[in-house]
């Protein structure tokens, strides 16, 4: 079965969705990602959806689920690169992706993840003293 690759880069996991996902593939990605977060102890997940032509309620739910699951596993999720037409459609459909952080591009997304990991470390650091 086809699979969406998950790349590890330092503390973070990178996923670029480049195919029109059928529902089972989206569910498989959700499972793969949570497993990989726990195996690699990654602290951030960046999902690039710049080539996705649509986000319907199923894919939207998958993104929300991934964000929620990774948070429980101590990792932040940032979704980057949503096309403007997709954003307009998503909101009219009634989805606002609760709990999902977004950034306009990969650079901004990485910046967000780094800042959030740094903030977490500082918080724990200050508690130790």
């Amino acid at each position: 079965m086809e699979k969406i690759p998950i790349l590890k880069m330092g503390d973070f996991l990178l996923v670029t969705i480049q195919v029109d996902m059928h529902d089972r593939l989206a569910l498989a990605l959700q499972d793969d990602l949570t497993r990989t977060i726990s195996q690699t102890e990654a602290h951030g997940v960046l999902i690039d959806i710049s080539t996705l032509e649509i986000v319907d309620s199923f894919i939207g739910r998958m993104l929300s689920n991934i964000a929620a699951m990774s948070r429980v596993l101590d990792a932040e999720t940032v979704v980057v690169g949503m096309q403007p037409a997709v954003a307009i459609t998503l909101v009219e459909l009634g989805l606002s992706l609760p709990g999902v952080r977004t950034a306009l591009n990969v650079d901004a997304g990485m910046e967000l993840l780094r800042a959030s990991v740094k903030a977490t470390k500082e918080m724990y650091g200050s508690r130790l003293h």
């Binding site: 059928h22 649509i54 319907d56 309620s57 739910r61 459609t89 009219e92």
Partner: protein, 133 residues
């Protein structure tokens, strides 16, 4: 109103949802719909195709291109499933009898210019959506 072309696409198994999206993308792009309008009708089609499979037990999508006086795309999803007992309730956001978000029907309605639904318990469901250029 003149129907320029009609074709039927099977909506029976889960991978058919991807085929539906691809076909609606091709036709709406050929018709010259704006990118936002294309995205809206593809998204609506994706929701309705999934409903056809999950709740209707499979069916079909009819694709019609319209011309005269207006150019538009009309999609009809039809199944012979159990039907919807209370259409008004099913259209309400957040209502679902499945495991989804309950945005499929109401959300699809908001994404198109015309939305018609015929459903009776035991007699299947037919939903027609139209997006004008």
């Amino acid at each position: 109103m003149a129907v320029v072309s009609t074709e039927n696409v099977p909506v029976k198994t889960e991978p058919d949802v991807v085929t539906v999206r691809r076909r609606v993308r091709e036709v709406s792009s050929q018709l010259g719909l704006s990118l936002v309008d294309q995205t809206k009708i593809i998204t609506a089609a994706s929701e309705l195709a999934r409903n056809t499979i999950i709740y209707g037990g499979g069916g079909s999508m009819q694709v019609q291109t319209l011309n005269g006086p207006r150019v538009g795309l009309r999609l009809t999803f039809e199944d012979n499933g159990p039907g919807i007992p209370d259409v008004d309730l099913a259209l309400r956001d957040g209502f679902t009898t499945g495991s989804g978000l309950g945005l499929g029907l109401g959300g699809s309605k908001r994404l198109v210019n015309e939305f018609e639904i015929f459903s009776k318990p035991g007699a299947g469901t037919r939903i027609t959506i139209t997006r004008w250029k």
